[in-house]
C-alpha cells in the first residue's frame, strides 16, 4: 500500500520511509510517451501532456486546476461563514460547488468520457486546491481538535508509532486512501437506479429519524452531482463537435459520447463501450466527489462479457474495434504517471489501480473468455505496466490460462498478482456471504480480495510483529514511552518458552492498545469526511441511513497485517538453536553480539552459528512450527474482538515497501541481519538467509492454515532459466493447492537482470514485480534493482 502525507494536520504525517531516500545515479531513459506501438503514441503523448509525473500531483491542465481552486475557495469561504456547520453540511455544500464549477476533460485520442482531474481521488497532496471531494475532509479534520473528538495526544502517539516503525495506517485511525468503487451497484442499476433506492428509503424513513433523513438527503445531493457531471461531459462533447478541426474518427467518438452521456452511467451501460467507460467513470467520479482513493478498475472479463458478445452479435462492434477500445482503456492507466521516473523513496509507483481478470463465475465455471485473452494480449502488446493485472485462479483453472500468464512472466512482463480463489472464496463463505457472491469477488489495491459493494477497503492497519521483538533487544525507554508501548526485555529469560511468552506479550499489548484506539476513534471519520454518495452504494448504509464509517456497513472487517513474521521466526529459531539447544553462547552473549551489529570475533562466531539455524522457508519443523504458533496465538487472542465498525478483526500477512525502508532503519537482529539490511516480504523467506528451493518455500507456506488469515502474499522471485510456461503454470497450480492467498511471481534469470543494469536501452520493456507494485526494471533505483536481483537467487 502506498504512503500518504496529510499536510492539513502535520501531526498526522505518516512516514513510511521517505526521509531515508538517498540520491542515487540512474540511467538516462527516454520520454515515457515515446514507447509502445507507434499507432498509440499520439494517445500517450496527449495523456502525458495532461497527467503529472506522479499520480498524486496536480494535473498539468490549467482549466482543471482553476476548477479545483474555485471549488476549494468557495467551499473555504462558505465554511468560514458557517462555523456551526458539521461535516455533512460541508459535504452537501461541496457537492453543490462541484456542480457549479465542474470542468470535464475530453481527450482527442481517447474515446472515453470520465476525466475530471482527480486521478481516482488520490490527488490529495496539494492543499491549496485539493481534489474537490477532499475539500470536506481538509476543512473538517480540525473538528478532531476543535470539537474535542480525539485528544491531540492520540495523534502524537499515532505519529510516533509510525516513526518508530511499529505500525502505520494510511490516515488517522482510518485508511483514507484505499477504496473500492461500487462497480456492481452502478453496472446493474446505474446511478439513477441507486438514486431511486435512496428516494424510496427517504420516503419510508420515519420523521423522528432526523439524522437519518438528513443523511439520505445528502446522498441525493451526491447523485444530483453525478448527473450534472455526466451532463457536463455531454455538453463538452457537443461543444467540441462544433469545432472545425475534427477528424472523422474524433467526430465519431464525440457523437458517441453525446449519445451515451445522454443516459449512461445514470442508466446502466448497454454497450461494451459504455461498460468500459462506466468502469473509468466510477473510478474517477467517486474519487472526485467523495474524496475516495479508488483502487480498482473492476473485473471486465466477468462483468462486460455479455455486453461484448451482444454488441458483436448485433453488428455494432467488431473485434478489432473492441481491441482498440481495450488498448486505449489500458494506456489511459499507464500514462497516469511517468513510468520512467526513477523509482525510489517516496515515488508512488503503484497508484494506478488494478483490474481483475479470470476467476470463476457464480456457478463456479472458470472465466477464461475472449475478453480475458484480449486484455492479457493487449496489456503486453501495448507494453504497459499499469493497470496492474490481478489474476484470479485456482488449482482447477484451465491449463491454457495459467500457461498464458506464465509465458508472459517468463518473457519479462511480470505485472501479475495471482489470487487463489480456493482460499478467498472459502474465506468469504466463512464471513457469511452466499456462494454466488463469494465467487464474484474482486481484487483491489495491492493484494486485497473484496466483494463489490459489500465492504470498503479502508480498514487495513500495518503492524510490525518484529518491531516489539527488536525493541526487547535494543531498548529505548524514552522512545517506548513516546509510542506508548510496554516492552518486557529478553534479558533473564531462562528458557526459550519464556522468551516466546515475552515476545508474544510485547506484540499483543501493543496491538490491543492500537486496536482500542481504532475502536474509539475510527468511526469519528464520519464526522470529518462523510461519504453519502459512496455509502449509498454500499450494503447496509442505505437501510441504516448511516455513513459507511458510522456503523452503516453490513460487513466491516478491520484487517490487521502482521509485518515481518519471517524475520521474527528466523530470529527466534536462531536463539532457540544457538542459545537454548546447542548452548553455543548465553542469551546475554547473543544479545550483546546483536547490539554490536555482529562486530568482533565472538559476535562473528555467534553469527556463523545463527546462519546454520533453521529459518522460515526451509520447511523445517522448527520454523514452520514457530510461524504457525505466531499466527495461532495472535488469532486466538484477537478472536471475537469487535472493532469500531462492529466487524471482525481479521489478520493478514502482507507488507508493502516497508520491508525495504523499515529494514534500512532497523538495527541488527538475531536472525543474522546487520543493521540496515532489508526485511523479508510477507510469506517470502528472508532473501539473504534463504538457501531453499522454491519447493521448500511453497511447502513451508502450505504447512500453515491460511483460513485463519484474510490475506497473505508471497512475493517470490525465482530463477526462470530453464523454466517453461508449462512448468511455471504448474508452479502456480501448486501454490493454489497449498492454500495460500496470493503469489506475485517474477521468473527471470539473473543474467538478464544484470545485462539490463549494464544496457538499459536493451531492456526498456523488462517489467518486474517489486512488491505491491510492478515497475520497469530500468526505472528502479540501483538499490531496488539489487533487491530484485538478490531475490532471484531462489531456485
Amino acid at each position: 500500500m502506498p504512503k500518504i502525507v496529510l499536510s492539513a494536520l502535520a501531526l498526522l504525517t505518516m512516514v513510511a520511509g521517505a526521509e531515508s531516500v538517498k540520491t542515487v545515479p540512474l540511467p538516462q531513459l527516454p520520454d515515457f510517451a515515446e514507447v509502445g506501438p507507434q499507432e498509440y503514441r499520439p494517445l500517450r503523448r496527449e495523456l502525458r501532456a495532461y497527467y503529472p509525473e506522479e499520480c498524486h500531483e496536480r494535473m498539468k491542465d490549467a482549466a482543471v486546476s482553476n476548477s479545483f481552486a474555485r471549488i476549494w475557495n468557495d467551499l473555504s469561504s462558505w465554511f468560514a461563514a458557517h462555523p456551526e456547520a458539521d461535516a455533512l453540511d460541508v459535504r452537501v455544500q461541496n457537492y453543490r460547488l462541484i456542480r457549479r464549477h465542474f470542468h470535464p476533460v475530453l481527450f482527442r485520442e481517447s474515446p472515453f468520457y470520465f476525466e475530471a482531474g482527480a486521478a481516482g481521488g488520490y490527488a490529495v497532496r496539494y492543499e491549496a486546491a485539493p481534489t474537490p471531494g477532499n475539500g470536506t475532509r481538509n476543512l473538517c479534520q480540525r473538528f478532531y481538535h476543535d470539537r474535542g473528538l480525539i485528544p491531540d495526544e492520540e495523534f502524537k502517539v499515532l505519529k510516533e508509532r509510525s516513526l518508530q516503525q511499529y505500525s502505520y495506517i494510511c490516515g488517522p485511525f482510518v485508511d483514507q486512501i484505499h477504496n473500492m468503487p461500487p462497480f456492481k451497484a452502478i453496472l446493474e442499476n446505474g446511478f439513477g437506479g441507486m438514486q431511486a433506492k435512496v428516494q424510496a428509503t427517504l420516503a419510508a424513513c420515519p420523521a423522528w429519524d432526523k439524522d437519518g433523513r438528513r443523511y439520505l438527503e445528502a446522498m441525493l445531493e451526491g447523485f444530483e452531482t453525478v448527473r450534472a457531471i455526466q451532463q457536463a461531459f455531454r455538453e463538452a462533447a457537443e461543444a467540441r463537435l462544433r469545432q472545425a478541426d475534427l477528424s472523422a474518427r474524433e467526430r465519431d467518438w464525440l457523437e458517441r459520447i453525446v449519445r451515451s452521456a445522454a443516459r449512461c452511467p445514470w442508466e446502466k451501460p448497454r454497450t461494451f463501450f459504455e461498460g468500459l467507460n462506466t468502469l473509468w467513470f466510477c473510478r474517477e467520479i467517486f474519487g472526485y466527489a467523495d474524496g475516495l482513493s479508488c483502487f480498482s478498475l473492476g473485473h471486465p472479463d466477468a462483468w462486460l462479457i455479455d455486453l461484448y458478445r451482444q454488441d458483436l452479435a448485433a453488428g455494432v462492434l467488431t473485434e478489432p474495434e473492441a481491441r482498440d477500445l481495450v488498448r486505449r482503456f489500458l494506456i489511459q492507466a499507464e500514462c497516469h504517471h511517468n513510468g520512467f521516473k526513477p523509482v525510489d523513496g517516496s515515488v508512488d509507483h503503484e497508484m494506478e489501480t488494478p483490474i481483475t481478470l479470470g476467476g470463476c463465475d457464480a456457478q463456479g465455471a472458470p472465466i477464461w473468455n475472449e475478453l480475458t485473452r484480449m486484455f492479457l494480449e493487449e496489456h503486453q502488446a501495448m507494453d504497459v505496466v499499469f493497470p496492474k493485472l490481478h489474476m484470479r485462479y485456482s488449482a482447477q483453472s484451465p491449463k491454457e490460462y495459467l500457461e498464458t500468464i506464465a509465458r508472459m512472466v517468463l518473457q519479462g512482463h511480470c505485472v501479475f498478482a495471482l489470487f487463489n480463489d480456493d482460499v478467498h472464496v472459502a474465506g468469504f463463505l466463512k464471513d457469511g456471504f452466499p456462494l454466488a457472491r463469494a465467487r464474484d469477488y474482486e481484487c483491489v489495491g495491492c493484494w486485497e480480495g473484496f466483494i463489490s459493494t459489500a465492504s470498503d477497503v479502508s480498514t487495513a492497519n500495518y503492524t510490525s510483529v518484529f518491531r516489539p521483538f527488536v525493541a526487547a533487544i535494543h531498548r529505548d525507554e524514552a522512545a517506548e514511552k513516546r509510542a506508548r508501548v510496554t516492552i518486557e526485555p529478553f534479558e533473564g529469560c531462562a528458557s526459550f518458552e519464556e522468551l516466546k511468552r515475552r515476545a508474544l506479550g510485547n506484540y499483543l499489548r501493543y496491538v490491543r492498545d492500537l486496536l482500542s484506539c481504532y475502536t474509539r476513534y475510527g468511526r469519528l471519520y464520519a464526522k470529518v469526511s462523510p461519504r453519502p454518495l459512496y455509502s449509498a452504494c454500499l450494503d447496509g448504509c442505505l437501510e441504516r441511513r448511516r455513513d459507511e464509517h458510522d456503523l452503516g456497513l453490513s460487513f466491516a472487517p478491520r484487517v490487521l497485517t502482521l509485518g515481518f513474521l519471517a524475520n521474527t521466526v528466523d530470529s527466534m529459531c536462531a536463539i532457540e538453536k544457538v542459545v537454548f539447544q546447542d548452548r553455543f553462547c548465553t542469551l546475554d552473549e547473543m544479545l550483546a553480539a546483536v547490539r554490536a551489529n555482529w562486530q568482533g570475533p565472538r559476535a562473528q562466531a555467534i553469527r556463523a552459528e545463527v546462519l546454520k539455524a533453521p529459518y522460515w522457508g526451509d520447511n523445517s519443523a522448527a520454523s514452520n512450527g514457530l510461524m504457525k504458533w505466531w499466527i495461532d496465538a495472535i488469532s486466538d487472542d484477537l478472536a471475537g474482538l469487535s472493532t469500531d465498525q462492529r466487524g471482525p478483526c481479521k489478520l493478514s500477512c502482507i507488507i508493502y515497501r516497508e520491508f525495504f525502508y523499515w529494514g534500512e532503519r532497523t538495527p541488527a537482529t538475531p536472525d543474522g541481519r546487520y543493521a540496515g539490511d532489508r526485511f523479508a516480504q510477507g510469506f517470502a523467506p528472508s532473501e539473504y538467509r534463504c538457501r531453499s528451493a522454491i519447493t521448500d518455500v511453497f511447502n513451508a507456506i502450505g504447512s500453515l492454515d491460511h483460513t485463519r488469515l484474510a490475506a497473505s502474499n508471497a512475493n517470490l522471485m525465482f530463477d526462470g532459466s530453464g523454466l517453461t510456461p508449462e512448468a511455471l503454470g504448474a508452479v502456480f497450480r501448486v501454490f493454489a493447492k497449498k492454500g495460500a492467498h496470493l503469489l506475485q511471481p517474477n521468473s527471470l534469470d539473473v543474467a538478464t537482470l544484470l545485462d539490463a543494469q549494464k544496457h538499459p536501452e536493451r531492456h526498456m520493456d523488462l517489467i518486474v514485480k517489486a512488491c505491491g507494485f510492478s515497475a520497469r526494471f530500468v526505472a528502479l533505483s540501483p538499490r531496488w534493482q539489487q533487491e530484485v536481483i538478490e531475490r532471484h537467487r531462489l531456485k
Binding site: D618, N619, S620, A621, R691, S692, A693, I694, T695, D696, F698, N699, F718, G722, L723, T724, E726, A727, A730, V731, R733, V734, K737, K738, K795
Partner: protein
C-alpha cells in the same frame, strides 16, 4: 539447489507417516548409500519439475567431468573443510522426494537419480528407484551405462526414463577419455532398449540419449554420424540432448587435489550448430539440453 544432510532429519519417519509402510531398518528403505547432492525444482534432468538425487562414486574418469567431487565413494572434504557427501538411506531419500509430490503431479515431473554413476551404488540406486516407483512417482536415471548386466536388469522395472550418456562411440577414444572400455556401456544400452521396446505402447519407459559435447574432443563429423546411426537403431530412443561442455568441474577438482580438462565454455552458437548437424543425421528429435 543442493540440500544438506540436516534436511533429512526425521525423513524416514515422515515417509512412514505418509502411509508407505517403509519403516527404517527393514527392506529396501533401509538400504544405505552416499549422496553428494540433491537438487529440488530441477528442470533439466527429465520432464517437468523434478528432484534429482546425486549418488556419490563413479567408475569412470571422464577427462572433462564437471563433478569430480562425485568420483570417490567416500565422504570427503574440500580444502576449506567443507564436507562433500553424506550417508543416508533409500527411505530417507524417497521421503525427501515425496515432499514435492505436488510439483511432480502438476508439471508431469518426477524424480531422477544421477551421479557420479548412480548404478555404481547398485543396491542403493535400485532401492531408491523401487521405492519411488512404488510411491507412484515418475522415475528417471541419468547413467553412463557402465555397470554389470545384472545391475541393469535389477533397475529396469523401476525406471520410466533412461537418460543415457553417449560420451563417445569410438572404442579407443572412449578408453582414452573415460579410462574404461566402452563394451559394457553399449551392451547395456541394447539391453535397456530391448526392455523398453517390450514395454512399448504404455507410455514409459523410454530412452533419451545425452551427448556431452567437448569442442575438439568428441564432436567430429564421424562421431556425430555414429551417434545418428546409433539413435536410429534404437526404437526406444525418443530424443537426443546435446550438452555442450561446461567447465564447472575445474575449480572443484582443484579444491580436491584432482585435475580435469579445462577449456573455455563454448558459445551458445556451438551447441545450436551441433543440434542442426545432428538433426540431419538422425530421424529422432534433437535439442539443446
Amino acid at each position: 539447489m543442493n540440500i544438506t544432510r540436516r534436511a533429512f532429519a526425521g525423513a524416514a519417519a515422515a515417509f512412514a507417516a505418509a502411509g508407505h509402510g517403509m519403516a527404517e531398518g527393514t527392506g529396501a528403505g533401509a538400504v544405505s548409500g552416499t549422496l553428494f547432492g540433491m537438487e529440488k525444482f530441477a528442470t533439466h534432468d527429465g520432464p517437468g519439475i523434478r528432484t534429482v538425487a546425486f549418488l556419490k562414486g563413479c567408475p569412470l574418469r571422464c577427462v572433462w567431468c564437471h563433478s569430480p567431487e562425485s568420483w570417490s565413494y567416500r565422504i570427503e572434504k574440500y580444502a576449506n573443510g567443507e564436507t562433500v557427501g553424506w550417508q543416508t538411506t533409500a527411505a530417507e531419500v524417497v521421503a525427501e522426494f515425496l515432499k514435492d509430490r505436488d510439483f511432480y503431479v502438476e508439471s508431469g515431473g518426477g524424480v531422477t537419480i544421477s551421479g557420479g554413476e548412480p548404478l555404481a551404488q547398485a543396491e542403493f540406486a535400485v532401492a531408491i528407484l523401487r521405492l519411488a516407483k512404488e510411491a507412484g512417482l515418475h522415475t528417471a536415471i541419468e547413467t553412463s551405462g557402465f555397470a554389470p548386466d545384472k545391475v541393469i536388469q535389477a533397475a529396469l522395472p523401476y525406471v520410466d526414463l533412461w537418460l543415457y550418456d553417449v560420451k563417445e562411440l569410438d572404442a579407443a577414444k572412449y578408453l582414452q577419455y573415460m579410462k574404461r572400455p566402452i563394451a559394457a556401456t553399449l551392451a547395456n544400452l541394447r539391453t535397456v532398449d530391448a526392455w523398453c521396446c517390450a514395454k512399448a505402447g504404455k507410455g514409459p519407459p523410454s530412452v533419451t540419449l545425452r551427448l556431452p559435447m567437448i569442442p575438439g574432443l568428441n564432436d567430429d563429423e564421424a562421431e556425430l554420424a555414429a551417434i545418428g546411426r546409433l539413435a536410429d537403431s534404437l526404437a526406444s530412443v525418443k530424443g537426443l540432448d546435446v550438452e555442450p561442455y561446461v567447465p564447472y568441474g575445474v575449480d572443484k577438482a582443484k579444491r580436491l587435489g584432482l585435475e580435469v580438462y579445462s577449456a573455455p565454455r563454448p558459445p551458445q552458437e556451438y551447441g545450436e550448430a551441433l543440434v542442426r548437424k545432428l538433426a540431419a543425421l538422425t530421424r529422432k528429435p534433437v535439442r539443446l539440453g
